[in-house]
């Protein structure tokens, strides 16, 4: 087990860890050098959906794709669950997750089997799932069993549940990348033609990358619905671009092949903690968008400088 954890030491995520540490330190000082498990739990609760959608986006970006429909898939699964919970908890959760898998499979089918452009396909399916979510649940609401929320806010072993889930998803991503499937994902992102010629079943692996993304997006939607005690057909809209932002901030180039899940988790944390910082700095919300953009440029620029420096040193 410790062996596949060693990939966390991967230097690719180092830059985003450093930035998060810096932002977190600032936050810590602004708060008067006090931090509690409760606050850590709060941060984890806020960041968790973005972490999970970010990981979903990560697997797709890794194979040189992009998935704009992940937000609406979140909305569909959350709305489905909210509508179906009266039928029973297990079927509701199963159907919500299955919807995500199916939506991912549809994307994968169109992109991997029919070789259509990922941005066009997911732009279309984004619109489709937006519509489906509104049909399932025209206005935010539905019924969420209170005890599910109680589970999410519980503190087994004195740790907030959301923090445990956060670590759990990070480990899940790291584990997936340590398997043959993960290696082949990186291979496809690195050089698709070479991977195909090496005997990698490129279409199949790519298909499963989209299925996995759909499943993770459904998990995020489910979590969001339970933690807010309501399904919402429009929550996804706020997650599409941040999920791509988290991937890029995490040190994963959009041409794929590189980067680690830990980087993506850091990317999501950075985007989230900026919001908290702005709150304490007494700046209005609308600065967040501007500052997110600046940070994105700084991080991507820093990565370019790092690559350039590494090359200069190698000479």
């Amino acid at each position: 087990m410790t062996r596949w954890l060693s990939s966390i030491r991967n230097s690719e995520a180092l830059g985003s860890v450093a930035i998060f540490a810096l932002l977190f330190a600032t936050y810590f000082v602004l708060k008067g050098c006090r931090y509690s498990f409760f606050e850590a739990g709060n941060l984890a609760t806020n960041v968790l959906p973005l972490v999970v959608v970010g990981l979903a986006q990560y697997f797709v970006v890794l194979v040189r794709g992009i998935d704009l429909s992940l937000g609406p898939i979140m909305a569909v699964s959350g709305s489905l669950a909210a509508v179906l919970f009266p039928l029973g908890i297990v079927p509701a959760i199963a159907i919500a997750l299955a919807a995500g898998v199916l939506a991912g499979a549809l994307n994968g089918l169109l992109i991997a089997r029919l070789s259509l452009s990922p941005i066009v396909v997911t732009l279309a399916t984004m619109s489709v799932w937006d519509g489906v979510a509104l049909i399932v649940l025209p206005v935010p609401g539905g019924t969420i069993p209170a005890f599910l929320q109680a589970v999410l806010t519980s503190e087994p072993a004195l740790l907030p549940m959301s923090l445990i889930l956060l670590v759990g998803f990070a480990l899940l991503g790291t584990w997936i990348m340590s398997t043959r499937f993960g290696l082949q994902l990186r291979a496809i992102g690195g050089d698709e033609i070479a991977a195909e010629a090496s005997g990698v079943k490129v279409a199949r692996i790519r298909f499963f990358a989209y299925v996995l993304a759909g499943f993770l997006a459904a998990c995020a939607g489910l979590y969001f619905a339970i933690s807010t005690m309501a399904g919402s057909p429009i929550i996804g809209d706020g997650y599409v671009l941040p999920s791509i932002g988290a991937v890029v901030l995490g040190g994963v180039p959009l041409i794929g092949g590189r980067g680690s899940p830990i980087g993506v988790v850091m990317g999501a944390l950075i985007l989230t903690i900026i919001g908290s910082l702005l709150y304490f700095a007494d700046l209005a919300d609308f600065y967040q968008s501007l500052i997110n953009g600046v940070i994105l440029i700084v991080v991507v620029g820093a990565a370019a400088v790092r690559d350039w420096a590494r090359e200069a040193l190698a000479r």
């Binding site: 340590s178 290696l183 990186r186 690195g190 005997g199 092949g257």
Partner: protein, 497 residues
């Protein structure tokens, strides 16, 4: 026994392979020769499952195979090493070796330590001095090709396809491969071998199949197929393997290079006369490409100076080099030279357009002039294409190379840098390129030309600089210039260092 029965393949309007049938028995090495565009690569690709035949069938040991992908071919024991390398640059050597079958431990995770250990055992067994944790993109081309060969051989295929697998290998590496192929033959495996170098066909193969214009012209045992006969069958005419006569270079110095320091280069000093063809030789990856790229401004210099016609040059990028009249035709035409989806005409003229040689003073393109220029060049260089509008992807490698060459000739360069441009190009196109280069030299253009083919260096160059470890070890000209002398200088230096 591998049996190919009546396979046929069209790509759009091009009838690439017409009704080809042949057999290769177990324990046999079959060489497939032909000019570029003759269809041998397509035949090989059908055997390897990369493209599906329109008609015909492929049988192995009596079973008809339906190959829809390279991974289908692999499951039937057909393994291929292609000219375009099938390794993933951003992964390590070990990851590439075990891309499909990485050793696992608990929970499906790859056991990285075991993978690295097993990879280093494999590399040692094949006498390769390469670290299993090295990233493939950091390795020289020759080593990458050897890793790929090892990966395929290690999977113990029934049929091994080597498509131009020696194109990046030096001489000692080729004999390494020859030993490997002999072992496969002794183990009753079938090897299909494609190469443009006849001496390799002669050493490796038991039987030779010759292709021309998509058809299989003849299959014969090696002894019954001497080189001149094979060349006659390939081209459909007699071509003596002659080089254009050498012309003594003019007096003076065109390009003066003094104490150049840069990536893979140290203390490089030489001069180039107008009208001189200067060859760069040595083992693969000894700084030849780096030297050419540095002179073109692609690689940054750390020291030394370059002067053209006595005037010092500042090379900050290709723009500076182009401005001074230095043109560079790269080795990896697929990645650096051509826009595959664009037309022949676009590829030929876009540099001229971008730099203003073909546009009017408002920056508008003079289309009529462009059309005339393109038509004239297609005719002059005998480029085999349906028209100037055909996407360059549809052309064979040799014809693509000619288009690329023409792109740079249009700027009327003072110095032409050629980076192994004849690699993977068929014999008759090679000779057209030799004639072209010599004609330019006669006009006073200075040519620096790196080739991994010693025979070509001796035949074409007026003087050859042998490089090793980024330094010029020897300068050979006149009667001193021979294949043996080049090889001696290349290997002597390796022992010495």
């Amino acid at each position: 026994m591998l049996s190919i029965r009546g396979i046929d393949k069209r790509f759009g309007a091009t009838h690439a392979v017409r009704d080809v049938s042949f057999d290769a028995a177990r324990g046999q090495v079959l060489g497939l020769v032909g000019e570029n565009g003759a269809g041998k690569s397509t035949v090989i690709r059908m055997v390897a499952g990369v493209v599906a035949p329109d008609q015909g069938s492929i049988h192995l040991d009596g079973n008809r195979l339906a190959l829809r992908s390279p991974s289908d071919a692999l499951t039937h024991g057909i393994d291929s090493v292609f000219q375009e390398l099938a390794l993933i640059g951003n992964l390590t050597v070990a990851d590439n070796l075990f891309l499909l079958k990485a050793p696992k431990h608990r929970w499906l995770s790859i056991d990285r330590r075991r993978a690295i250990r097993e990879a280093s055992e494999i590399l040692e067994r094949y006498q390769l001095d390469i670290a299993p944790t090295a990233r493939v993109r950091d390795l020289p081309l020759g080593q990458r090709q050897m890793i790929e060969i090892v990966r395929s051989v290690e999977r113990d295929p029934t049929v091994l396809v080597l498509d131009e697998a020696t194109s990046s290998l030096g001489q000692s590496e080729v004999s390494w491969l020859a030993r490997l192929v002999r072992k496969l033959r002794d183990a009753e495996r079938i090897v299909l071998f494609i190469s443009h170098r006849w001496d390799e066909i002669a050493t490796f193969c038991d039987r030779v199949a010759v292709m021309r214009n998509g058809r299989l012209v003849e299959v014969a045992d090696r002894p019954a197929m001497p080189q001149d006969r094979a060349v006659r069958l390939m081209t459909g005419r007699d071509t003596s393997g002659g080089f254009p006569p050498k012309v003594p270079p003019r007096e003076g110095t065109l390009l003066g290079v003094d104490n150049l320091e840069g990536p893979m280069l140290s203390r490089t000093t030489f001069s180039l006369a107008p009208g001189e063809i200067l060859g760069l030789g040595g083992l693969v990856g000894q700084g030849q490409t780096e030297l050419l790229r540095a002179l073109f401004g692609v690689l940054p210099l750390r020291g030394g100076s370059v002067a053209l016609k006595g005037r010092p040059l500042r090379l900050r990028g290709p723009r500076d080099a182009i401005g001074a009249g230095i043109a560079y035709v790269p080795l990896e035409r697929k990645s650096e030279g051509v826009f595959l989806d664009k037309s022949v005409a676009f590829n030929m003229t876009f540099a001229s357009l971008a730099l203003g040689w073909l546009s009017s003073w408002f920056g508008l393109i003079r289309f009529r002039k462009e059309r005339a220029t393109v038509a004239e060049a297609i005719d002059r260089l005998k480029i085999r294409t349906r028209s100037g509008h055909t996407p360059i992807r549809a052309l064979s490698g040799g014809n693509q190379q000619k288009v690329l060459l023409e792109k740079w000739l249009q700027m009327r360069p003072a110095v032409l840098l050629l980076d192994d441009v004849t690699r993977g190009v068929d014999i008759s196109t090679k000779h057209q390129i030799y004639e072209l280069v010599r004609a330019l030299a006669r006009e006073g253009v200075g040519v620096i030309f790196y080739s991994s083919d010693t025979y070509e260096l001796v035949g074409l160059a007026d003087r050859v600089l042998v490089m090793a470890d980024g330094e010029i070890r020897k300068s050979l000209a006149g009667s001193e210039l021979s294949s043996a002398a080049i090889v001696d200088a290349a290997f002597g230096s390796r022992v010495g260092s």
